[in-house]
């Protein structure tokens, strides 16, 4: 399930949903939070996206994960719009029969999302530049033998 929304999410509800989706041996969830980027609470944080393309890219990333590992259910939620430091911004949850599969798929999805899904962060008046370390994390999945 893919959701792009302004509203916050409740991890316990998402966990429950994953738990209901089948007899899983493992559920791994990742929550990304807005870092305290300035220490100045007056500064705003804005998340822009490309409506339409965002959803199709997220669906493609989840499909790639599902073809790579046997997964029972996947949830990806990404918030957009105005957020505050400390707010939840992204959620990835994966249920699978085995923990290694669930850990790997969850990490794959967030790593690839960071470099392929059309979202852009703006801290105050400054757009955040892409990090080479994020690209390296995504590239790792193209070459690593992680089976």
């Amino acid at each position: 399930m893919i959701r792009v929304q302004q509203a916050d999410f409740v991890v316990a509800d998402e966990y429950h949903h994953l738990q209901q989706s089948g007899i899983a041996g493992a559920i791994v969830t990742f929550s990304g939070l807005v870092r305290d980027f300035t220490g100045d609470t007056g500064e705003s944080f804005f998340l822009q996206h490309y409506p339409g393309m965002t959803e199709s890219v997220l669906n493609k990333i989840v499909s790639q994960a599902e073809s790579r590992w046997p997964l029972l259910a996947v949830t990806v939620i990404h918030r957009v719009g105005h957020l505050q430091a400390g707010d939840q911004i992204v959620f990835v949850g994966v249920s699978s029969a085995h923990r290694k599969t669930a850990f790997a798929a969850c990490e794959y999805i967030i790593d690839v999302l960071k470099t392929e899904a059309p979202f852009w962060k703006k801290e105050g008046s400054r757009w955040v530049a892409a990090k080479q370390s994020d690209q390296a994390a995504a590239d790792r999945w193209l070459t690593a033998d992680d089976s």
């Binding site: 490309y50 960071k114 470099t115 059309p118 979202f119």
Partner: protein
């Protein structure tokens, strides 16, 4: 694919700010052959456009799929230019 002689162009994040435009309907007598040709025509507008579009890490999507410079264009296409993404 539309018959109208226009291409919708979207500019995201820092690129939209630099250009002061987030969306336009690009219309010319002749269709730009590909993404590279469209980008060159936009860059030729003035120094501000030339500077903003000269970024080597700029990415392009045609009809919401990432596209290379040689990707051919049709009237009615939606073309988006944007800097590398920073979500999550």
């Amino acid at each position: 694919m539309s018959n109208t002689n226009a291409i919708t162009i979207l500019y995201f994040a820092s690129l939209g700010d630099a250009l002061g435009v987030t969306e336009e309907h690009f219309s010319q007598a002749s269709l730009p052959a590909d993404v590279a040709s469209l980008r060159a025509q936009l860059a030729a507008r003035d120094t501000q456009w030339a500077a903003a579009l000269s970024a080597t890490n700029l990415r392009c999507a045609v009809n919401q799929s990432l596209a290379k410079p040689e990707h051919p264009l049709c009237w009615g296409d939606e073309v988006a230019f944007f800097p590398p993404v920073t979500g999550g």
